[in-house]
């Protein structure tokens, strides 16, 4: 889970007046409760947490808010499960159906397993690795029960998901605004993701501005501006056709004296094979670093989850150009083939930060490998 939405309020406890931090803290707790794995975080900051909580109770009397987290916890997780139902149906249910009534693992079963995994967009390479490891075990007579096979499969997949996991906190700057540059091919949902992301930061009590550096596509600037209005965030923009680097420069200028915590930069969609457009992206990045050293702190690549194996190629080429530090996978609710998530985790060492599982504002979720694997393999109860 990300630490992005917590850090600022913690600092506030120490430095600022409490007003802003209470609200923020509540949100953090909601955030935390999303996953049991966050327990440590709570412990780490327990002391300040207590004080904030007490202030919050005193001044805002949010008794309702007290009881909310647990409710929300169940709600959020079940929503994740529900939205991933299709993915689960495609992998797990079919695996279940495959194993139903089977007592032994024979070559036919393994072939069918291969088919299921490939049709889930797991990719030929990943599928091979999975199936071959199982096959080897069967050959060595270490494995004969199909039910055990399922467990092994789950562990392996969870292992892939974990392999690329990285702490998101590492990319946060010690001081100054946190700059996120959002890139991706055309039509993956960059602008929408940015709006949802900004909303997330906003809820955590952070001061966000958006930068409309997609000056190429018709009405892209307006699209971001409309989102800005809806969630109440300032959007720095020039007119379509302007040099994106100059928009970024302007935005950083604007942010300088305004106590901005987070700057999210929207760039034009571009195919990763267009050398010249990738050069433009490099330039935007260079300009950022001139104005704020170390910026952008996060280069977020947005990938459409319905994309097939090309997603890996996208991630690779964008990485070569601008060093991607995180991924956001969108439209996971529409696809029955969330397998690409696993494939990306295995092929690349870039951590997945967010997954988009629906059209609502809070359907942009922090990616949690455990939770994802759990939801993927949860028994069909939803």
């Amino acid at each position: 889970m990300l630490g992005w939405f917590k850090k600022k309020p913690k600092k506030n406890v120490q430095e600022d007046s409490a007003g802003r931090s209470e609200l923020a803290r509540e949100d953090i707790e909601d955030d935390k409760s999303e996953s049991a794995a966050q327990a440590e975080d709570v412990l780490i900051s327990e002391e300040e947490n207590k004080s904030v909580a007490s202030i919050a109770v005193r001044e805002h009397a949010p008794e309702t808010a007290r009881s909310k987290p647990s409710e929300k916890n169940g709600g959020l997780f079940s929503r994740l499960k529900e939205q991933l139902a299709k993915t689960r149906n495609s992998i797990v249910s079919r695996v279940d159906a495959l194993f139903l009534g089977k007592k032994v693992i024979d070559p036919e079963l393994l072939d069918e397993l291969e088919e299921i995994l490939i049709t889930a967009d797991l990719g030929v390479g990943t599928t091979h690795e999975l199936v071959e490891s199982v096959r080897a075990k069967v050959d060595r007579k270490e494995l004969s029960d199909p039910q055990v096979l399922k467990r092994i499969l789950k562990e392996k997949i969870a292992g892939f998901l974990h392999s690329s996991d990285q702490k998101a906190e590492l990319v946060m700057p010690a001081k100054g605004p946190f700059v996120i540059m959002v890139v991706g091919v055309n039509g993956v949902g960059k602008t929408t993701t940015i709006a949802k992301l900004a909303n997330k930061f906003l809820k955590a009590g952070q001061n966000v501005i958006l930068v409309a550096a997609d000056t190429f596509r018709a009405a892209a600037v307006q699209q971001l501006q409309i989102w800005g209005e809806r969630i109440g965030v300032h959007v720095v923009a020039q007119k379509t056709g302007a040099d994106p680097s100059s928009v970024v420069f302007d935005a950083f200028d604007y942010a300088e004296n305004k106590n901005v915590d987070v700057i999210i930069v929207d760039t034009a969609g571009r195919l990763h094979t267009k050398v010249n457009l990738m050069e433009e992206l490099k330039k935007i990045k260079r300009v950022m670093a001139k104005k704020i050293p170390d910026a952008p702190h996060e280069v977020l690549l947005v990938i459409d989850a319905t994309t097939g194996q090309n997603a890996v190629s996208q991630a690779r080429l964008f990485s070569e150009a601008v060093d991607i530090t995180g991924l956001a996978l969108t439209k996971l609710d529409g696809t029955a083939k969330g397998g690409i998530v696993v494939n990306i985790c295995r092929e690349l060492t870039i951590p997945i930060r967010f997954i988009g599982i629906g059209e609502q504002m809070d359907d942009l979720r922090d990616f949690n490998a455990d939770e994802f694997a759990e939801a993927l393999f949860a028994e069909g109860e939803s």
Partner: protein, 454 residues
């Protein structure tokens, strides 16, 4: 691992070529590679299975042609199968019947419906129709503005839709407007939606019954994975689509979606989007696509493109000049401009047979469009006299030209050097081949490219 489909298949066939006779094992090996290549290219699993089975069956029962090596025979088989998979023959839009003819663009979010609508409008306008763009996406912020801006830039009127309106009403109104204003083709750009969103799918059904479209085009992203089939199938079931537009084909997507959708939905692919420019929409030709997949190049499209931009009279004049060795820097400039008109260099190179197979070319930096621009600027900064007689360009003139074109003296030197070498080459050619052969024209067209790479 990330070779594209053509590369993979080429490798298989290279191995096959060595064999005088195909054994069962050869065929099995080759088919296994074909299968893997197709799967990695995101072709749907079931489609791959059928495809490989068909080829295996035919390959075994194949009569031995004396003129073809066994390897070539398999290639031929694969090509034939690919063509049939892709829909056999080219299918065009069918806009006869009542006027105004209505086209509906449908598809997932971000597949490229709005851009494709504008591109299609450009194409229809070229054919002499009077298109009318109707934005019916009231959900995505600024979607209507996007189409309005695009419409303005291509000179096609756009229906003044409002986000508060109901999409069905918008479409009904647009039809009435079209009838009154004498537009003969309506292009409805609907909102992107998930195929599982029953409510929004229902809305599409309502629009369909309200306007009775002549064509419903399903717009799909060429990079879509195994799910492409499910989505296309659902849209087809609900709306009975009449054709498919595949977008973002210029990337390194391996075109698997094209194969799968054509087969599973049983609907022809009618257009492919090949670039960000508003004229980058091509009619889809199954046979050419198959050649492209197999790395055989696409000479037909290349010739068509060349014919579109090359002025016959100018070409004749040029041949005359070549004969008399009066090819000046000005003609050189003309050539460059013609090449630029044909599209991006990358696109052109992709269509030349065999070029994509040359490994050494892959590592060479891609010819930069800007380089061509530079050459153009340099030549434009010369005086008329200099252009006619390059020998008079001395050091101080070179400096002036460099300044005038915003380049370095070295760049100017490079241009002059390649031009003078080209002249030399031409003289030599004239010595060998008779003047005015077709061959000559071709060589010339190639030179500026070599120049830009140097």
């Amino acid at each position: 691992m990330f070779d594209n489909l053509s590369d993979r298949l080429n490798k298989v066939f290279k191995d096959l070529r060595g064999h005088g006779k195909l054994s069962d094992k050869n065929i099995q090996d080759a088919l296994r590679e074909v299968r893997m290549a197709l799967l990695e290219a995101d072709v749907n699993f079931k489609v791959v299975k059928d495809f490989v089975a068909t080829i295996a069956e035919k390959a075994v029962g194949q009569q031995v042609h004396s003129s073809l090596s066994p390897g070539q025979q398999v290639i031929k088989l694969v090509q034939e199968e690919l063509i049939s998979l892709l829909g056999e023959s080219t299918k065009y839009l069918e806009l006869q019947g009542k006027s105004p003819a209505v086209l509906m663009m449908v598809g997932l979010q971000g597949s490229g419906k709005t851009t494709s609508s504008a591109k299609l409008a450009v194409l229809l306008k070229k054919q002499g129709r009077r298109p009318y763009l109707v934005p019916a996406d009231v959900y995505r912020p600024a979607a209507i503005e996007q189409l309005q801006i695009l419409g303005e830039s291509i000179g096609v009127p756009v229906h003044p839709s409002q986000t508060e309106q109901d999409p069905v009403t918008i479409c009904k109104n647009a039809v009435i407007v079209a009838q009154n204003s004498d537009y003969d083709t309506l292009l409805i750009d609907t909102a992107g939606r998930l195929h599982v969103d029953e409510e929004l799918m229902g809305e599409l059904g309502n629009i369909k019954s309200a306007v009775q479209p002549a064509e419903i085009l399903f717009v799909a992203d060429a990079m879509t994975g195994q799910d492409a089939v499910t989505v296309a199938d659902k849209f087809n079931q609900d709306l009975n689509i009449s054709g498919v537009i595949l977008t973002k084909m210029e990337g390194d997507a391996r075109g698997g979606a094209a194969l799968s959708i054509a087969r599973v939905a049983g609907r022809p692919i009618k257009f492919i989007g090949t670039g960000e420019g508003l004229d980058a929409l091509e009619v889809f030709h199954p046979d050419r696509m198959a050649s492209r997949i197999l790395g055989m190049g696409d000479v037909l499209t290349l010739i068509e493109k060349a014919e579109e931009v090359v002025d016959k009279k100018k070409a004749d004049k040029l041949a005359q000049k070549l004969k008399k060795s009066t090819f000046t820097l000005e003609d050189f400039l003309d050539q460059i401009q013609q090449i630029k008109k044909m599209g991006s260099l990358e696109q052109i190179m992709g269509m030349i047979p065999g070029l994509n197979r040359m490994k050494q070319l892959k590592d060479v930096p891609k010819p930069d469009e800007k380089e061509l621009g530079k050459v153009e600027a340099i030549i434009r900064s010369m005086t008329a006299q200099e252009r006619r007689k390059y020998q008079i360009i001395d050091a101080s003139r070179r400096q002036r030209i460099a300044k005038g074109s915003g380049t370095q003296v070295q760049d100017v030197n490079k241009v002059i050097k390649s031009y003078s070498e080209m002249l030399k080459m031409m003289k030599k050619m004239q010595g060998k081949a008779g003047p005015g052969t077709v061959f000559k024209g071709k060589t010339k067209r190639k030179r500026p490219k070599g120049l830009s790479r140097r």
